[in-house]
Symmetry: C2
Subunit: 191 residues, 2 copies
């Protein structure tokens, strides 16, 4: 079941979910297997249709699922999910088969969007279809994908804008540095 | 002359300058012409050697300079530079020849790093050499580059770590959303 506050974002506004450079969780599914990893290296690539880039290492289980299914989701963990994010970004499902359960990752599916799972508790979600670019994938671990659907928690993103300043405590998005340290998304600055 | 506090960052730590997803200024030079634009779509791509991606639209003067010289710099404007960042990201040097002067962009050169200019007042700088990938550049406006030198203002990044919490007011980096609105890099979150 979709979480409360799970609200569609028009595709022409989807780039705004990634524009501020948050760390993401990458989720994917193939042949009965789900997985989720963290990625600091995800970025918007185009407005319309919205496209993204994300770097997914060859050593990961998630990479296998993305290559097999041609689909993945990016989602923005909140400050309250910092430990989960480091956990699923550090441990591989290849070494720890119960990784998702161990770190308390709770999955759900968006109606009509197939088997790629989404992670409960995030601030926003982007369902992505890989644009095959074998050279980029092999040489740089770089995936290009088109965003085919997007949603946000309407407490934190609505009417095409983030509202971190009025959102409940712990709902700010995260920006990873290294060694288990993030910065939360901070104060709004208007020019 | 290099600004005070302009301090080399070891290349193996250079990814940490971009990992948190800040908005950047892209500077470039060719045949006597300097230019600077803003880009929200820049991202780390690899650790060692450090590589980056950045999206540079075909309509920009900076794109011409990057393609002609094979080099550019990424640098992280601070909160104090928010208006400058929107200015150089909105106006093109093709339409406003005095763009840099108009927005108060003050350039300098790093010793031994050729003619690509850097922008005074930023929190960190990455000198980048384009890895030619004509398909990515044409199809997606996506440039891949290797970071050949990096520096930071040691009031805000030193010993391989950001120190926003202790830095002077206005030195936090910026994360662009849309319509002249940014978020500053916020509170440190440790797991």
């Amino acid at each position: 079941m979709s979480p409360d506050h799970f609200t569609p974002v028009p595709l022409e506004k989807a780039y705004r979910l990634l524009n501020h450079g948050p760390t993401v969780l990458v989720s994917a599914h193939h042949a009965g297997t789900d997985n989720v990893m963290a990625a600091a290296w995800a970025c918007a690539l185009d407005f319309s249709p919205p496209k993204v880039t994300v770097v997914i290492d060859k050593a990961t289980r998630t990479r296998e699922l993305v290559e097999a299914s041609g689909q993945f989701a990016l989602q923005l963990p909140t400050q309250a999910m910092a430990a989960l994010t480091v956990g699923v970004g550090t441990d591989s499902a290849k070494a720890r088969a119960d990784k998702l359960q161990h770190y308390g990752v709770d999955l759900f599916h968006a109606p009509g969007q197939g088997a790629t799972p989404l992670v409960h508790g995030c601030a926003a979600w982007l369902m992505c279809r890989v644009v095959p670019e074998p050279h980029n994938q092999q040489a740089y671990d770089l995936f290009i994908a088109e965003v085919v659907a997007a949603w946000a928690d309407d407490r934190v993103f609505r009417d095409g804008h983030w509202h971190f300043d009025e959102a409940p405590e712990g709902m700010r998005t995260l920006h990873y540095v290294a060694g288990g340290q993030f910065y939360a998304t901070g104060a709004s600055v208007r020019v």
